[in-house]
Amino acid sequence: MTDLRYESPETLDAAVALLAGAGDGGHVLAGGTDVLVLLHSEIIAPKLLVDIKRIPELKGIREEEGGFRVGAATPAMELVDHAKFRAVWPGVIEGVNLIGSVQVKGRASIGGNLCNASPAADSVPPIIAAGALASIVGPGGLREAPVEEIITGPRRTSLKKGEMIVSFRFPKRPPHSGDCYLRLTPRTEMDIAVVGAGVSLTLDDGGVCTAARVSLGAIAPTPLLVKDAADALVGTKVDDAALERMAEACRAACKPISDKRGTKEYRIKTAGVIARRAAETALQRARGN
Protein backbone atom coordinates (compact mmCIF):
# COMPACT_ATOMS: atom_id res chain seq x y z
CA MET A 1 0.00 0.00 0.00
CA THR A 2 3.02 2.25 0.30
CA ASP A 3 2.84 3.69 -3.21
CA LEU A 4 -0.92 3.77 -3.55
CA ARG A 5 -2.51 6.69 -5.41
CA TYR A 6 -6.15 7.80 -5.21
CA GLU A 7 -8.00 9.60 -8.00
CA SER A 8 -11.65 10.60 -8.27
CA PRO A 9 -12.25 11.61 -11.90
CA GLU A 10 -15.47 13.40 -12.83
CA THR A 11 -15.91 12.05 -16.37
CA LEU A 12 -16.01 8.60 -17.94
CA ASP A 13 -13.21 9.58 -20.35
CA ALA A 14 -10.95 10.60 -17.48
CA ALA A 15 -11.65 7.34 -15.62
CA VAL A 16 -10.93 5.24 -18.71
CA ALA A 17 -7.68 7.14 -19.32
CA LEU A 18 -6.57 6.68 -15.70
CA LEU A 19 -7.29 2.94 -15.79
CA ALA A 20 -5.56 2.55 -19.15
CA GLY A 21 -2.52 4.41 -17.84
CA ALA A 22 -2.29 2.24 -14.73
CA GLY A 23 -2.17 -1.11 -16.59
CA ASP A 24 -2.40 -3.97 -14.12
CA GLY A 25 -2.00 -1.60 -11.16
CA GLY A 26 -5.39 0.10 -11.54
CA HIS A 27 -8.45 -0.84 -9.51
CA VAL A 28 -11.94 0.61 -9.65
CA LEU A 29 -13.36 1.84 -6.33
CA ALA A 30 -17.16 2.04 -6.14
CA GLY A 31 -18.77 1.74 -2.68
CA GLY A 32 -15.59 0.18 -1.33
CA THR A 33 -17.31 -2.32 0.97
CA ASP A 34 -15.37 -5.19 -0.60
CA VAL A 35 -12.40 -3.33 -2.14
CA LEU A 36 -11.30 -1.63 1.10
CA VAL A 37 -11.41 -4.92 2.99
CA LEU A 38 -9.33 -6.61 0.26
CA LEU A 39 -6.95 -3.65 0.20
CA HIS A 40 -6.38 -3.51 3.95
CA SER A 41 -5.94 -7.27 4.24
CA GLU A 42 -3.43 -7.01 1.36
CA ILE A 43 -5.29 -9.47 -0.86
CA ILE A 44 -5.10 -6.82 -3.55
CA ALA A 45 -2.28 -4.30 -3.86
CA PRO A 46 -3.23 -1.77 -6.53
CA LYS A 47 -1.03 1.21 -7.38
CA LEU A 48 -4.02 3.33 -8.29
CA LEU A 49 -7.58 3.44 -6.95
CA VAL A 50 -10.01 5.09 -9.36
CA ASP A 51 -13.01 6.28 -7.33
CA ILE A 52 -15.87 6.38 -9.85
CA LYS A 53 -18.49 7.89 -7.55
CA ARG A 54 -18.04 11.44 -8.83
CA ILE A 55 -18.95 10.48 -12.40
CA PRO A 56 -22.60 11.40 -13.12
CA GLU A 57 -23.32 8.36 -15.37
CA LEU A 58 -22.36 6.00 -12.53
CA LYS A 59 -24.89 7.43 -10.10
CA GLY A 60 -28.65 7.44 -9.73
CA ILE A 61 -31.77 5.77 -11.10
CA ARG A 62 -33.37 7.14 -14.26
CA GLU A 63 -36.44 6.05 -16.19
CA GLU A 64 -35.55 5.22 -19.77
CA GLU A 65 -37.69 3.83 -22.61
CA GLY A 66 -40.29 2.61 -20.16
CA GLY A 67 -37.65 0.81 -18.07
CA PHE A 68 -34.90 1.95 -15.72
CA ARG A 69 -31.23 2.77 -16.01
CA VAL A 70 -29.31 2.37 -12.75
CA GLY A 71 -25.81 3.82 -12.33
CA ALA A 72 -23.42 1.00 -11.47
CA ALA A 73 -22.11 2.78 -8.35
CA THR A 74 -25.51 3.86 -7.02
CA PRO A 75 -25.65 2.95 -3.31
CA ALA A 76 -27.96 0.02 -2.55
CA MET A 77 -30.00 2.12 -0.11
CA GLU A 78 -30.91 4.49 -2.94
CA LEU A 79 -32.44 1.58 -4.85
CA VAL A 80 -34.21 0.26 -1.76
CA ASP A 81 -35.69 3.73 -1.16
CA HIS A 82 -36.79 4.25 -4.80
CA ALA A 83 -40.55 3.61 -4.56
CA LYS A 84 -41.13 3.24 -8.30
CA PHE A 85 -38.24 0.87 -8.94
CA ARG A 86 -39.26 -1.17 -5.90
CA ALA A 87 -42.84 -1.48 -7.21
CA VAL A 88 -41.69 -2.75 -10.63
CA TRP A 89 -38.81 -5.00 -9.49
CA PRO A 90 -39.57 -6.17 -5.92
CA GLY A 91 -37.41 -9.28 -6.45
CA VAL A 92 -34.37 -7.21 -7.39
CA ILE A 93 -34.92 -5.17 -4.23
CA GLU A 94 -35.17 -8.38 -2.18
CA GLY A 95 -31.68 -9.30 -3.40
CA VAL A 96 -30.25 -5.79 -2.99
CA ASN A 97 -31.65 -5.63 0.53
CA LEU A 98 -29.53 -8.64 1.49
CA ILE A 99 -26.19 -7.17 0.39
CA GLY A 100 -25.40 -6.27 3.99
CA SER A 101 -26.32 -4.03 6.91
CA VAL A 102 -27.90 -0.62 6.40
CA GLN A 103 -24.42 0.86 6.83
CA VAL A 104 -22.95 -1.38 4.13
CA LYS A 105 -25.88 -0.67 1.81
CA GLY A 106 -25.22 3.04 2.29
CA ARG A 107 -22.09 2.49 0.16
CA ALA A 108 -22.32 -0.88 -1.60
CA SER A 109 -23.61 -0.88 -5.19
CA ILE A 110 -25.00 -3.48 -7.60
CA GLY A 111 -22.05 -2.84 -9.91
CA GLY A 112 -19.68 -3.62 -7.07
CA ASN A 113 -21.65 -6.65 -5.92
CA LEU A 114 -21.43 -8.00 -9.49
CA CYS A 115 -17.75 -7.19 -10.12
CA ASN A 116 -16.69 -8.64 -6.75
CA ALA A 117 -17.80 -11.85 -8.47
CA SER A 118 -18.79 -13.93 -5.47
CA PRO A 119 -20.84 -17.03 -6.39
CA ALA A 120 -23.17 -16.11 -3.51
CA ALA A 121 -23.71 -12.39 -4.24
CA ASP A 122 -27.37 -11.79 -3.36
CA SER A 123 -28.19 -9.06 -5.87
CA VAL A 124 -26.91 -10.98 -8.89
CA PRO A 125 -29.51 -13.77 -9.43
CA PRO A 126 -32.52 -11.42 -9.39
CA ILE A 127 -30.73 -8.98 -11.73
CA ILE A 128 -29.94 -11.85 -14.10
CA ALA A 129 -33.57 -13.01 -13.83
CA ALA A 130 -34.67 -9.46 -14.65
CA GLY A 131 -32.80 -9.68 -17.95
CA ALA A 132 -30.77 -6.58 -17.14
CA LEU A 133 -27.98 -5.48 -19.48
CA ALA A 134 -24.69 -4.01 -18.29
CA SER A 135 -23.27 -0.98 -20.13
CA ILE A 136 -19.51 -1.27 -20.13
CA VAL A 137 -16.93 1.36 -21.01
CA GLY A 138 -13.27 0.78 -21.75
CA PRO A 139 -10.41 1.61 -24.09
CA GLY A 140 -12.49 0.18 -26.98
CA GLY A 141 -15.47 2.43 -26.25
CA LEU A 142 -18.93 1.41 -25.02
CA ARG A 143 -20.49 -2.05 -25.22
CA GLU A 144 -23.45 -3.80 -23.67
CA ALA A 145 -23.56 -7.34 -22.23
CA PRO A 146 -26.18 -9.44 -20.43
CA VAL A 147 -25.45 -9.55 -16.70
CA GLU A 148 -25.19 -13.36 -16.73
CA GLU A 149 -22.08 -13.05 -18.93
CA ILE A 150 -20.11 -10.88 -16.49
CA ILE A 151 -19.05 -13.34 -13.76
CA THR A 152 -16.83 -16.13 -15.12
CA GLY A 153 -15.60 -17.63 -11.84
CA PRO A 154 -15.04 -16.76 -8.18
CA ARG A 155 -13.42 -13.28 -8.22
CA ARG A 156 -13.19 -13.38 -12.05
CA THR A 157 -15.18 -11.39 -14.58
CA SER A 158 -15.33 -11.11 -18.36
CA LEU A 159 -14.41 -7.42 -18.16
CA LYS A 160 -11.30 -6.74 -20.21
CA LYS A 161 -8.34 -4.77 -18.96
CA GLY A 162 -9.32 -1.15 -18.38
CA GLU A 163 -13.05 -1.81 -18.65
CA MET A 164 -15.68 -0.95 -16.07
CA ILE A 165 -19.45 -1.14 -15.78
CA VAL A 166 -21.19 2.21 -16.13
CA SER A 167 -24.84 1.32 -15.62
CA PHE A 168 -27.50 -1.35 -15.86
CA ARG A 169 -30.53 -1.23 -18.15
CA PHE A 170 -33.66 -2.88 -16.76
CA PRO A 171 -36.09 -3.51 -19.63
CA LYS A 172 -39.65 -2.24 -19.79
CA ARG A 173 -41.94 -4.52 -17.83
CA PRO A 174 -44.97 -6.00 -19.67
CA PRO A 175 -48.29 -6.21 -17.78
CA HIS A 176 -48.81 -9.27 -15.55
CA SER A 177 -45.12 -9.57 -14.69
CA GLY A 178 -43.61 -10.42 -11.33
CA ASP A 179 -40.25 -11.32 -9.84
CA CYS A 180 -38.88 -12.60 -6.54
CA TYR A 181 -35.56 -13.43 -4.91
CA LEU A 182 -35.30 -15.81 -2.00
CA ARG A 183 -32.25 -17.19 -0.29
CA LEU A 184 -31.58 -19.81 2.31
CA THR A 185 -29.34 -18.87 5.24
CA PRO A 186 -29.09 -20.15 8.80
CA ARG A 187 -29.68 -16.61 10.09
CA THR A 188 -32.19 -14.04 8.85
CA GLU A 189 -29.66 -11.21 8.49
CA MET A 190 -25.96 -10.59 7.95
CA ASP A 191 -25.24 -13.98 6.44
CA ILE A 192 -24.05 -15.52 3.17
CA ALA A 193 -26.44 -17.50 0.99
CA VAL A 194 -26.40 -21.30 1.06
CA VAL A 195 -28.69 -21.16 -1.96
CA GLY A 196 -30.32 -18.19 -3.67
CA ALA A 197 -32.95 -18.14 -6.40
CA GLY A 198 -34.28 -15.31 -8.55
CA VAL A 199 -37.34 -15.83 -10.73
CA SER A 200 -38.99 -13.39 -13.11
CA LEU A 201 -42.04 -14.26 -15.19
CA THR A 202 -44.77 -12.76 -17.35
CA LEU A 203 -48.30 -14.07 -17.90
CA ASP A 204 -50.80 -13.40 -20.69
CA ASP A 205 -54.37 -12.29 -19.96
CA GLY A 206 -55.40 -15.92 -19.53
CA GLY A 207 -52.71 -16.58 -16.92
CA VAL A 208 -50.42 -18.59 -19.21
CA CYS A 209 -46.71 -17.92 -18.71
CA THR A 210 -45.26 -16.29 -21.83
CA ALA A 211 -41.75 -15.53 -20.59
CA ALA A 212 -39.63 -16.60 -17.63
CA ARG A 213 -36.05 -16.36 -16.38
CA VAL A 214 -34.67 -18.36 -13.46
CA SER A 215 -31.27 -17.71 -11.88
CA LEU A 216 -29.56 -19.54 -9.05
CA GLY A 217 -26.77 -18.35 -6.72
CA ALA A 218 -24.29 -20.12 -4.41
CA ILE A 219 -24.71 -23.51 -6.12
CA ALA A 220 -21.91 -23.25 -8.71
CA PRO A 221 -18.70 -21.25 -9.23
CA THR A 222 -20.86 -18.51 -10.78
CA PRO A 223 -24.50 -17.47 -10.51
CA LEU A 224 -26.39 -19.40 -13.19
CA LEU A 225 -29.14 -18.57 -15.65
CA VAL A 226 -31.06 -21.86 -15.82
CA LYS A 227 -32.78 -21.96 -19.20
CA ASP A 228 -34.34 -25.40 -18.70
CA ALA A 229 -36.02 -24.16 -15.53
CA ALA A 230 -37.54 -21.20 -17.38
CA ASP A 231 -38.63 -23.47 -20.27
CA ALA A 232 -40.51 -25.65 -17.78
CA LEU A 233 -42.73 -22.66 -16.93
CA VAL A 234 -43.30 -21.08 -20.34
CA GLY A 235 -46.55 -22.19 -21.97
CA THR A 236 -48.03 -23.44 -18.68
CA LYS A 237 -50.29 -21.85 -16.08
CA VAL A 238 -47.41 -22.32 -13.62
CA ASP A 239 -49.32 -25.15 -11.99
CA ASP A 240 -47.94 -27.75 -9.64
CA ALA A 241 -46.56 -29.99 -12.38
CA ALA A 242 -44.77 -27.08 -14.10
CA LEU A 243 -43.30 -25.92 -10.80
CA GLU A 244 -42.03 -29.41 -10.08
CA ARG A 245 -40.42 -29.65 -13.54
CA MET A 246 -38.81 -26.25 -12.91
CA ALA A 247 -37.47 -27.40 -9.53
CA GLU A 248 -36.07 -30.54 -11.14
CA ALA A 249 -34.29 -28.44 -13.80
CA CYS A 250 -32.81 -26.30 -11.01
CA ARG A 251 -31.53 -29.34 -9.14
CA ALA A 252 -30.02 -30.67 -12.37
CA ALA A 253 -28.18 -27.38 -13.01
CA CYS A 254 -26.46 -27.25 -9.59
CA LYS A 255 -22.72 -27.81 -9.41
CA PRO A 256 -22.14 -26.89 -5.78
CA ILE A 257 -19.29 -27.42 -3.37
CA SER A 258 -19.64 -28.71 0.17
CA ASP A 259 -18.54 -26.19 2.78
CA LYS A 260 -19.39 -25.11 6.32
CA ARG A 261 -22.68 -23.60 5.10
CA GLY A 262 -23.99 -26.78 3.54
CA THR A 263 -23.13 -30.01 1.78
CA LYS A 264 -23.49 -30.56 -1.95
CA GLU A 265 -26.55 -32.74 -1.43
CA TYR A 266 -28.22 -30.18 0.84
CA ARG A 267 -27.60 -27.37 -1.64
CA ILE A 268 -28.98 -29.36 -4.56
CA LYS A 269 -32.11 -30.36 -2.67
CA THR A 270 -32.81 -26.89 -1.26
CA ALA A 271 -32.13 -25.18 -4.62
CA GLY A 272 -35.29 -26.83 -5.92
CA VAL A 273 -37.28 -25.84 -2.83
CA ILE A 274 -36.11 -22.21 -2.81
CA ALA A 275 -36.56 -21.78 -6.58
CA ARG A 276 -40.08 -23.16 -6.33
CA ARG A 277 -41.03 -20.80 -3.51
CA ALA A 278 -39.53 -17.86 -5.41
CA ALA A 279 -41.53 -18.82 -8.51
CA GLU A 280 -44.74 -19.05 -6.47
CA THR A 281 -44.24 -15.54 -5.10
CA ALA A 282 -43.29 -14.18 -8.55
CA LEU A 283 -46.48 -15.76 -9.88
CA GLN A 284 -48.64 -14.09 -7.21
CA ARG A 285 -47.05 -10.77 -7.99
CA ALA A 286 -47.57 -11.24 -11.73
CA ARG A 287 -51.25 -12.03 -11.14
CA GLY A 288 -51.59 -8.90 -9.03
CA ASN A 289 -50.47 -6.45 -11.72
Binding site: T33, Q103, R107
Partner: protein, 159 residues
Protein backbone atom coordinates in the same frame (compact mmCIF):
# COMPACT_ATOMS: atom_id res chain seq x y z
CA UNK B 1 6.02 6.87 -0.38
CA UNK B 2 2.32 7.22 -0.94
CA UNK B 3 1.25 10.64 -2.03
CA UNK B 4 -0.46 12.48 0.81
CA UNK B 5 -3.17 14.97 0.05
CA UNK B 6 -5.14 17.61 1.88
CA UNK B 7 -8.62 16.55 2.87
CA UNK B 8 -11.20 19.10 3.92
CA UNK B 9 -14.15 17.69 5.77
CA UNK B 10 -16.98 19.20 7.78
CA UNK B 11 -17.55 17.27 10.99
CA UNK B 12 -20.60 18.13 13.10
CA UNK B 13 -20.72 21.51 11.37
CA UNK B 14 -17.06 22.45 11.87
CA UNK B 15 -14.59 22.43 9.01
CA UNK B 16 -11.35 20.49 9.46
CA UNK B 17 -8.34 19.99 7.25
CA UNK B 18 -5.85 17.15 7.46
CA UNK B 19 -3.05 15.63 5.43
CA UNK B 20 -4.07 12.06 4.58
CA UNK B 21 -2.57 9.01 2.92
CA UNK B 22 -4.52 7.33 0.11
CA UNK B 23 -5.18 4.13 2.09
CA UNK B 24 -6.22 5.93 5.28
CA UNK B 25 -9.82 5.39 6.36
CA UNK B 26 -12.34 7.95 7.55
CA UNK B 27 -12.44 6.38 11.03
CA UNK B 28 -8.68 6.78 11.23
CA UNK B 29 -8.93 10.40 10.14
CA UNK B 30 -11.61 11.09 12.76
CA UNK B 31 -9.87 9.36 15.64
CA UNK B 32 -6.18 9.89 14.99
CA UNK B 33 -5.94 13.16 13.07
CA UNK B 34 -8.98 15.07 14.35
CA UNK B 35 -8.92 13.43 17.81
CA UNK B 36 -12.64 12.77 17.72
CA UNK B 37 -12.42 9.43 19.49
CA UNK B 38 -16.15 8.94 20.15
CA UNK B 39 -16.39 6.89 16.98
CA UNK B 40 -14.99 3.41 17.68
CA UNK B 41 -13.22 0.93 15.44
CA UNK B 42 -13.96 -2.73 16.10
CA UNK B 43 -13.48 -4.98 13.10
CA UNK B 44 -12.31 -2.65 10.29
CA UNK B 45 -14.26 -4.83 7.83
CA UNK B 46 -17.81 -3.46 7.96
CA UNK B 47 -19.15 -6.20 10.20
CA UNK B 48 -19.56 -4.63 13.65
CA UNK B 49 -20.97 -1.14 13.09
CA UNK B 50 -18.93 0.44 15.92
CA UNK B 51 -17.59 2.99 13.43
CA UNK B 52 -21.06 4.10 12.19
CA UNK B 53 -21.25 7.77 11.17
CA UNK B 54 -23.42 9.83 8.86
CA UNK B 55 -21.71 10.81 5.59
CA UNK B 56 -23.68 13.48 3.73
CA UNK B 57 -26.72 12.32 5.68
CA UNK B 58 -26.27 8.59 4.89
CA UNK B 59 -25.50 5.96 7.50
CA UNK B 60 -22.15 4.32 6.68
CA UNK B 61 -19.28 2.41 8.28
CA UNK B 62 -16.41 4.89 8.52
CA UNK B 63 -13.92 1.98 8.35
CA UNK B 64 -15.15 1.35 4.78
CA UNK B 65 -14.72 4.94 3.59
CA UNK B 66 -11.36 6.40 2.63
CA UNK B 67 -10.50 9.75 4.17
CA UNK B 68 -9.96 11.03 0.63
CA UNK B 69 -13.47 9.96 -0.36
CA UNK B 70 -14.78 12.25 2.38
CA UNK B 71 -13.03 15.29 0.90
CA UNK B 72 -15.56 18.11 0.60
CA UNK B 73 -18.24 16.06 2.35
CA UNK B 74 -19.92 16.45 5.71
CA UNK B 75 -19.78 13.91 8.50
CA UNK B 76 -21.88 13.63 11.64
CA UNK B 77 -20.45 11.72 14.58
CA UNK B 78 -21.51 10.94 18.14
CA UNK B 79 -19.71 14.10 19.35
CA UNK B 80 -22.45 16.16 17.67
CA UNK B 81 -25.38 14.32 19.19
CA UNK B 82 -25.89 16.10 22.52
CA UNK B 83 -26.34 19.84 22.77
CA UNK B 84 -24.36 21.74 25.37
CA UNK B 85 -26.68 21.02 28.28
CA UNK B 86 -28.93 18.30 26.97
CA UNK B 87 -28.38 14.72 26.02
CA UNK B 88 -30.29 13.47 22.98
CA UNK B 89 -33.39 11.48 24.04
CA UNK B 90 -31.69 8.35 22.70
CA UNK B 91 -28.65 8.97 24.89
CA UNK B 92 -30.79 9.62 27.96
CA UNK B 93 -32.92 6.52 27.45
CA UNK B 94 -29.84 4.35 26.92
CA UNK B 95 -28.55 5.59 30.30
CA UNK B 96 -31.87 5.16 32.09
CA UNK B 97 -32.73 1.75 30.66
CA UNK B 98 -29.20 0.28 30.72
CA UNK B 99 -28.86 0.20 26.96
CA UNK B 100 -25.10 -0.03 27.40
CA UNK B 101 -22.55 -1.83 29.49
CA UNK B 102 -18.94 -1.43 28.31
CA UNK B 103 -20.05 1.22 25.82
CA UNK B 104 -17.87 0.31 22.86
CA UNK B 105 -20.80 -0.38 20.57
CA UNK B 106 -22.86 2.53 21.89
CA UNK B 107 -21.76 5.47 19.71
CA UNK B 108 -22.37 3.43 16.56
CA UNK B 109 -25.72 2.19 17.80
CA UNK B 110 -26.86 5.68 18.78
CA UNK B 111 -25.92 7.07 15.35
CA UNK B 112 -27.66 4.17 13.59
CA UNK B 113 -30.76 4.43 15.80
CA UNK B 114 -31.04 8.17 15.21
CA UNK B 115 -30.88 7.54 11.45
CA UNK B 116 -33.76 5.07 11.79
CA UNK B 117 -35.93 7.43 13.85
CA UNK B 118 -35.37 10.22 11.32
CA UNK B 119 -36.94 8.12 8.56
CA UNK B 120 -39.40 6.22 10.72
CA UNK B 121 -40.43 7.87 14.00
CA UNK B 122 -42.57 4.89 15.01
CA UNK B 123 -40.68 1.69 14.19
CA UNK B 124 -41.80 -1.72 15.39
CA UNK B 125 -39.49 -3.84 17.52
CA UNK B 126 -38.80 -6.01 14.46
CA UNK B 127 -37.94 -2.97 12.33
CA UNK B 128 -35.49 -1.79 14.99
CA UNK B 129 -33.86 -5.21 15.23
CA UNK B 130 -33.40 -5.44 11.44
CA UNK B 131 -32.15 -1.87 11.15
CA UNK B 132 -29.56 -2.48 13.88
CA UNK B 133 -28.49 -5.87 12.48
CA UNK B 134 -25.18 -4.31 11.43
CA UNK B 135 -24.34 -3.17 14.97
CA UNK B 136 -22.85 -5.87 17.17
CA UNK B 137 -22.88 -5.72 20.97
CA UNK B 138 -20.92 -8.19 23.08
CA UNK B 139 -22.44 -7.13 26.39
CA UNK B 140 -26.12 -6.32 26.57
CA UNK B 141 -27.80 -9.17 24.73
CA UNK B 142 -29.57 -6.47 22.65
CA UNK B 143 -32.91 -6.46 24.50
CA UNK B 144 -32.09 -3.38 26.53
CA UNK B 145 -30.80 -1.62 23.44
CA UNK B 146 -34.07 -2.27 21.63
CA UNK B 147 -36.12 -1.14 24.64
CA UNK B 148 -34.04 2.03 24.94
CA UNK B 149 -34.64 2.88 21.27
CA UNK B 150 -38.38 2.21 21.60
CA UNK B 151 -38.61 4.41 24.69
CA UNK B 152 -36.67 7.22 23.01
CA UNK B 153 -38.88 6.97 19.92
CA UNK B 154 -42.00 7.24 22.05
CA UNK B 155 -40.62 10.21 23.91
CA UNK B 156 -39.61 11.94 20.68
CA UNK B 157 -43.03 11.37 19.14
CA UNK B 158 -44.63 12.98 22.19
CA UNK B 159 -42.24 15.91 22.17
Amino acid sequence: MAKKAHVTVTVNGDEYEALCEPGQTLVDLLRNELELTGTKEGCSTGDCGACSVMLDGKLVCSCLVLAMEADGRSVDTIEGMATENNLHPLQRNFLELNGLQCGICTPGILIAARALLERNPDPTETEIRYWLAGNLCRCTGYDKIIRSVMAAAEEMRGA
